[in-house]
């Protein structure tokens, strides 16, 4: 397959990525609106509408960012990447487009349902059974398309991206199906429902989204830098650790209560193991970018991927820190866990997604980006915004936890402690949204060919001798 040849999946991947960009703006906007209500509670008294209630905005924005922005976006870039690294083109382009549209329909239906009728209250499963069904149908089409030919070309390319792809692609349907059966068919009684929610939350973050992002890291880093991953056994060990411990990590969110204490302890162990896996992976991709600062500065795709890979290890380090028994009893039930979301979702997954779009979209459109300097605006706004959000949530969470555990501090005072940090968080989230707006305008301008392209950044231009060397190095 000619690596620059437009594939039949290009319409599907464009639908998925365009949807992802739109959902990110909507999700980010709703998130700001929710936090604004927390900062100025009187705002909710002016025009109280159920669709603008805090209790609906929070699950709606979280759903949009997870399933709409990151989920849809990662599936979109994988649809560009996989046929190229497996060298097997997709067939049935219309079917794939149908799958991509169905995914957007599921996100739209879920989002509308949460805003209009409210969330189900279940962790990472705030939507109704009908939305689950649409997700299933869509994923059946997209997942089959993405993994098609993976077995046949298993030995002809780098192993690690394939291993992570296999994990991520299987975790979503198996996890969603099991969670749906246990939670909404009356199979899981009482406290078992809570355990099930925690397992499903782990599946979404550590066994579905994180592996899909790692596919991109392990495929794009070597391609962009021209260096190969040094130690396969270490990579396989990290993969094994992630898959084994990934489903257990969220148990550390619970503090006493209905979750058995041994499960909470396994959550701590899983968090440590996931951090070890992240460290192992960092040892693998750090040499790929070492001494390449000039290139990282110049190439915005590489810049985002580097930020994302460092955020990957930082987010697992923060999660491990919060899981430690002495820390957990202080930070449980606080916004310190939102700091983890900032690092994991926005900095790790968001940066990997942005870097991948910058690197891969020109491949299917056979074009570049309008201007290099405007791309940097996207980088700095989102990076600074996420950093501010993380710092705000982290400090607020620690302070909130200490105050909550001090019976001498009245509860109303605890809430007031959050205010100054909420200002920082809101500024950070607004900055991120500005960056994302800059990106979306660039993205749609590129798709619609509104500007001359001055910064071409295709990853697989066959004319580049460097890439040919790289392909040889990988194989």
């Amino acid at each position: 397959m000619n690596r620059n040849q437009p594939s039949k999946s290009s319409v599907a991947s464009q639908i998925l990525i365009a949807g992802s960009v739109i959902w990110s703006l909507l999700g980010g906007g709703l998130q700001i609106l929710a936090n604004l209500q927390l900062l100025v509670p009187l705002l909710t008294y002016f025009q109280p509408l159920p669709v603008l209630g805090f209790g609906r905005l929070v699950p709606a924005s979280s759903f949009l960012l997870t399933y709409g922005w990151i989920g849809s976006g990662l599936l979109g870039v994988l649809m560009i990447l996989v046929p190229r690294f497996s060298a097997i083109p997709f067939r049935h382009g219309r079917l794939l487009s149908f799958g991509a549209i169905a995914w957007q329909l599921a996100v739209l239906t879920g989002f509308t349902q949460i805003l209009m009728s409210g969330s189900s209250g279940l962790l990472s499963l705030p939507f109704s059974r009908s939305v689950t069904l649409i997700f299933f149908v869509s994923f059946l089409v997209l997942g089959t398309g993405i993994t098609r030919g993976l077995g046949g070309t298993w030995k002809s390319g780098p192993l690690l991206p394939r291993l992570y792809l296999l994990g991520g692609i299987l975790a979503f349907p198996l996890g969603l199906g099991t969670a749906e059966l246990l939670l909404r068919s009356g199979t899981a009684p009482g406290a078992v429902q809570i355990i099930t929610q925690l397992v499903w939350h782990s599946f979404v973050h550590h066994l579905w989204l994180a592996p899909m992002a790692l596919v991109l890291i392990f495929q794009l880093f070597p391609t962009l830098t021209g260096r190969a991953v040094s130690s396969m056994p270490l990579g396989i060990l990290a993969w094994g650790l992630l898959l084994t411990a990934g489903g257990w990590a969220t148990n550390s969110l619970a503090s006493q209560g209905p979750v058995p204490s041994w499960l909470q302890s396994t959550g701590v162990v899983a968090s440590v193991l996931l951090f070890v896996a992240a460290l192992g992976n960092t040892v693998l991709f750090q040499p790929l970018v070492e001494g390449r600062m000039d290139e990282i500065r110049r190439n915005v795709a590489l810049r985002f991927l580097t930020l994302g890979s460092w955020s990957y290890v930082a987010s697992y380090a923060w999660m491990m820190f919060l899981s430690l028994p002495g820390v957990r009893q202080n930070t449980a039930f606080t916004v310190a866990w939102n700091a983890n979301q900032s690092l994991f979702l926005f900095s790790f997954l968001g940066s990997i997604l942005a870097g991948s779009i910058y690197a891969l979209l020109p491949v299917i459109k056979n074009l570049g980006w309008p201007s290099h300097s405007s791309l940097l605006w996207h980088f700095w706004c989102t990076a600074l915004g996420t950093a501010m959000t993380f710092v705000g949530y982290a400090l607020a969470g620690v302070l909130q936890g200490l105050a909550l555990n001090d019976p001498g501090v009245p509860f109303s005072t605890v809430a007031s402690y959050l205010r100054p940090f909420l200002v920082v968080i809101l500024i950070g989230q607004a900055l991120w949204l500005v960056g994302q707006l800059a990106f979306s305008s660039l993205f749609f301008a590129t798709l619609l060919k509104l500007f001359p392209f001055t910064a071409p950044m295709a990853v697989f231009p066959s004319s580049r001798p460097q890439d040919t060397n790289l392909a040889q190095a990988q194989h």
Partner: protein, 200 residues
């Protein structure tokens, strides 16, 4: 590594996560049964009414769980009991009849595991839903006026009409949803002893 071996390992790891947690968890906490109180001959935890069960769904759909937890911790390393959020810690048996079973992971508002005991008057809970700042001026809880219906008052207001000033001879009456939600909140209490969590 062969693709079949990789596939088997992935499936095994995913299975390990579900079986290890849910199946073992089921054997530990899924088979719990209510304890019969010898004095009253009633089960603990008490079986909630169908109306309260409906209220539990409204509690979930209104997103109350985004700010309120439903899990009181013991005295070791937490001030939950000292804050008066419950007479004892929450244990798995407390969640036997909860549908959906939720614990919440945020405490922007106080824990509600024992709110039925702390706010016994349904009028207080209704007032809180309509205007949280009326009872507590510093409350950050948003109002939920959409859970109330504006009706013509006629000669005299209905018995459950809210004591608020309205225009044009109208009255504000709690809707079915508001009543169900209040019934659910009133059903939340930890004031019964369990073998694994006796009262103080």
């Amino acid at each position: 590594m062969k693709p079949t071996r990789a596939l088997a390992l992935v499936l095994l790891a995913l299975l390990f996560s579900w079986v290890g947690q849910v199946a073992l968890g089921y054997f530990q906490v899924g088979k719990l049964e209510p304890v019969i109180n010898e004095d009253t001959n009633l089960p603990n935890p008490p079986t909630p009414s169908g109306f309260a069960q409906t209220g539990a769904r409204i509690f979930a759909s209104e997103g109350c769980i985004e700010c309120h937890s439903l899990s009181v911790r013991g005295p070791a390393g937490s001030a939950d009991l000292t804050r008066g959020w419950g007479p004892r810690r929450s244990v798995p048996r407390d969640y036997l009849f909860r549908e959906p079973a939720l614990i919440g992971f945020s405490r922007i508002g106080p824990d509600l595991s024992d709110i039925g005991e702390r706010m016994k008057e349904s009028n207080d809970l209704m007032t809180h839903l309509l205007n949280p700042r009326k009872l507590k001026p510093t409350s950050t809880c948003p109002p939920h006026p959409w859970l109330f219906d504006l009706k013509l008052a006629g000669h005299k207001p209905e018995n459950d009409a809210m004591p608020v000033t309205t225009q044009d001879w109208k009255q504000l009456v709690p809707s079915y949803k508001a009543k169900a939600l209040v019934a659910y909140l009133q059903s939340l209490n930890l004031g019964y002893p369990l073998p694994e969590a006796p009262l103080k």
